[in-house]
Symmetry: C2
Subunit: 489 residues, 2 copies
């Protein structure tokens, strides 16, 4: 066997074990008995140690030195493998195992602290996660910036300075739009009580309309919705609030975007390094375009309005346009995942700045809550009323996801580009959306982007799909046009 075939054989088993690790994560967040937490952390640590040993095996390094790619896909496999090997050989096995052991305990502590509104109870875990991840970032960066190194795990080939520059460019137009929208009349919200089973039934229908394959996936409930798995076992989760069906429906569409991306990758790449999304930012572009540019479009909201009437009977909104306005209502609010398209990126900018401080040590965990609350009031104009609406609202930091938040904003930016290109190619898109027909739109995304997995780097992935390098203007133009019309600005 030649070195390339041998490396792919070895890697395929590693990828299969990584899928198992992902499944354990799904299990922990959906079905695991509460009392199993400590034992599970040992199980995860044992599996992580196996994965780490394989990913840093000197034999793999030798094979990667010797391997010659047979084709373009092979070159991409080696690119991903070499990047991963260089990264992983810099992280001590002890540190990788400790992170795997602490992470589920920290997440449970976060869940409990969030329920109890007790930030102090979570701080020791947060401090530990920061210390471990900073150590990891320093090891990977090898003299460079630890935060950049952590961010590169989620979005290769960018850095905090570039992201900060993009954010500086986006912020003025987003702030101006937000101020204009919040100064206009707010349309009525959708109110009432919406049967839980009805919401889940409709969520499942939306998932199927958007091309999520239930034969290779499933939908469960979780505190913080997520998707997991690649290939033929891609699971998503959602949540239900009886007084807010948009929460369930758009959480579902968001995760469907992630899940459909993983399901849509070329089966020939299954259980290989390129058999998954190209980056977290590109992933988020799929979840956001499913959720927002498609799911919250006027045309699709008109169709969804009919479905809502059929499922729940009369609604308090006047008509289909009232429903569309309610689904795109901009108000002051605390929660990132419930934020409208206008304010969402401002939530990200807050987290980006705070987490850079946590990692570089300029912000102490003890000072985080105050820093959050101060910044939040400055940025959003209302004081945080309780930790679950503030610093404890997101799972990310509890599981060590530092450098992840900015990929949400990059995803929005990419989604803006993809949406512009999609509309240029599918001229009757609104007619299709108005009939609840997503086949052409999701088919376009599948063919242009999803099927290629991580064949290309993130920016090249977007450029190949859109025909132009990603920039912020399409997203900002789209937001101005959409909310300008909705709010008669």
């Amino acid at each position: 066997m030649n070195a390339f075939a041998e490396v792919m054989d070895f890697t395929r088993q590693t990828e299969a074990l990584a899928q198992v690790s992902g499944r354990l994560g799904w299990d922990q967040q959906t079905v695991m008995p509460r009392g199993a937490n400590a034992q599970r952390s040992e199980e995860m640590a044992a599996l992580e140690a196996v994965l780490h040993a394989r990913r840093t095996d000197p034999k793999l390094g030798d094979l990667l030195d010797a391997a010659e790619p047979p084709d373009e896909a092979g070159a991409a496999q080696l690119r991903e493998l070499r990047r991963g090997f260089a990264r992983n050989t810099r992280v001590p096995a002890r540190l990788a195992a400790e992170l795997a052991r602490i992470t589920p305990l920290s997440q449970t502590a976060w869940e409990e602290a969030r329920a109890a509104g007790d930030v102090a109870a979570f701080l020791p875990w947060l401090s530990q996660m920061i210390a471990l991840r900073r150590e990891e970032g320093e090891a990977i960066a090898d003299g460079g910036d630890p935060y950049d190194a952590l961010m590169a795990d989620y979005e290769p080939e960018t850095d905090a300075a570039s992201v900060a520059a993009i954010f500086d460019q986006m912020r003025p137009r987003l702030v101006a739009l937000r101020d204009a929208v919040l100064g206009a009349d707010t349309p009525p919200a959708l109110t009432g009580t919406f049967d839980r089973d009805g919401q889940l039934r409709l969520a499942r229908k939306l998932a199927e309309r958007f091309g999520y394959d239930m034969g290779r996936g499933r939908i469960d409930l979780a505190v913080h919705p997520f998707s997991s798995g690649s290939g033929d076992d891609v699971r998503i989760t959602t949540r239900v609030a009886e007084n807010d069906p948009f929460n369930c429906l758009y959480s579902t569409l968001h995760e469907v975007g992630h899940g459909a991306y993983e399901q849509g990758v070329d089966p020939a790449y299954r259980l290989t390094p390129i058999g998954r999304g190209a980056s977290m930012g590109v992933h988020e572009s799929q979840s956001r375009i499913y959720e927002n540019q498609l799911g919250r479009s006027r045309a699709f909201c008109h169709w969804l309005h009919g479905e809502m009437l059929a499922e729940f009977g009369p609604l308090n909104v006047a008509d289909a346009d009232g429903f569309y306005a309610a689904a795109n209502r901009v108000t002051r609010g605390y929660i990132r995942t419930e934020a409208d398209e206008v304010q969402y990126n401002l939530h990200i900018m807050l987290r980006f700045d705070l987490e850079r401080g946590l990692i570089d040590g300029k912000l102490r965990p003890d000072d985080l809550e105050e820093a959050w609350n101060t910044r939040f009031e400055a940025d959003f104009g209302i004081p945080v009323d309780r930790p679950a609406n503030g610093v404890l609202q997101d799972v990310h930091w509890s599981v060590g996801l530092f450098g992840y938040f900015p990929t949400y904003a990059l995803g929005n930016l990419y989604a803006g580009c993809l949406h512009q290109a999609l509309r240029a190619d599918i001229l009757d898109l609104d007619a299709q959306l108005g009939a609840g027909d997503l086949k052409a739109a999701t088919g376009w995304l599948r063919e242009k982007l999803q099927v290629h997995g991580a064949l290309r780097n993130p920016r090249d992935t977007i450029e190949a799909a859109c025909g132009a390098a990603p920039v912020a203007a399409p997203l900002l133009d789209y937001l101005d046009a959409k909310f300008g019309a909705l709010y008669r600005l």
Copy 2:
């Protein structure tokens, strides 16, 4: 670190990975998307390869040669580890990986064949499983009998000849009792339609009464109920037939016996070789005593009758004794898992004889259905009407469990011994059962047997709990007395 500490450290990680493997099995049978089957088989094979490599690691062999046990529990750990190492080093890694890869595919083929009543569709898979397991048995036996070697995986320190001798001893009294019972008047069955949610509610209540800790477990649905996991993550499954609540309730109690055993093992033994049941036979003794000697006792049936009335309203049986008779009704039937206590072991004897033939090659898979049907009609007096009621009724052979069936009958025998000893120690047991109070009975089993895990060999485990070596007489005496009274023989 001394050799013993080192071996236990290494083993603890192996045991943690084995728990992960068990969880994947649970996932496959309860929640996995159907389309994930092929990918899952690769994931299982990768994990199995890791486990096999650890269990046959020459470093482990060296450590086991050098290790000195610090105490009685340490000696038991080394006993289990040395037995496992000797066994596993005889099985080629290729064979272990192939079994892991084929097993889920074969199980799915069985499920589909069973639903379609298509034995022929399952035969290629069965032939493959037999060939692989025979090869494994030959490798382990190292010149001895392959079936004995397979059986020893489930019940160490016995062999097919001893089991056959016990069966020869039990059979005449069981046949005589069965003929007498089937010659007497049959009491009315419980009939009606019993709400699915009500059955599951009551099943959960029974599980909790019998000491199953829901904080460290969960109950799901599966085609063929099973339990899985050890320590703090022990999951059971059940099934529901709306016209037969006994199916759900007693399947649940059966699995609760298995689950409570695993939950009851000394936490100091968690993730070690003795941190689980002593053998499949001893495991089955727990499931059977929970289900039968306790759950189907007259006293407990009286309490359960009240619960049934409360959950489902009036029943067709006359009174509590009519309910007791219905729960212990002996009729001619096809299905092992639904068989009464009188005929159950006869189902085992049929499978034991057929599977010995399959492994030693005297019975060809192509001839299995006819052999099953002929033997069944001879033993049970009725012809098999369809494969799902005959040769396709059990999952076992589809996943390679040859040598497993006899442990069910050994479990019944052990349960007979434990029940005799339990009644000698708890004189007012019937009063407690009549109040639905299982604390003393399950506490006795926990203290005398469950807490010790695999500290002792199977026979010693039973002897330590009962004060006498296991024999068949207590079970046969119990059956004669119970069914003699019920059927006025």
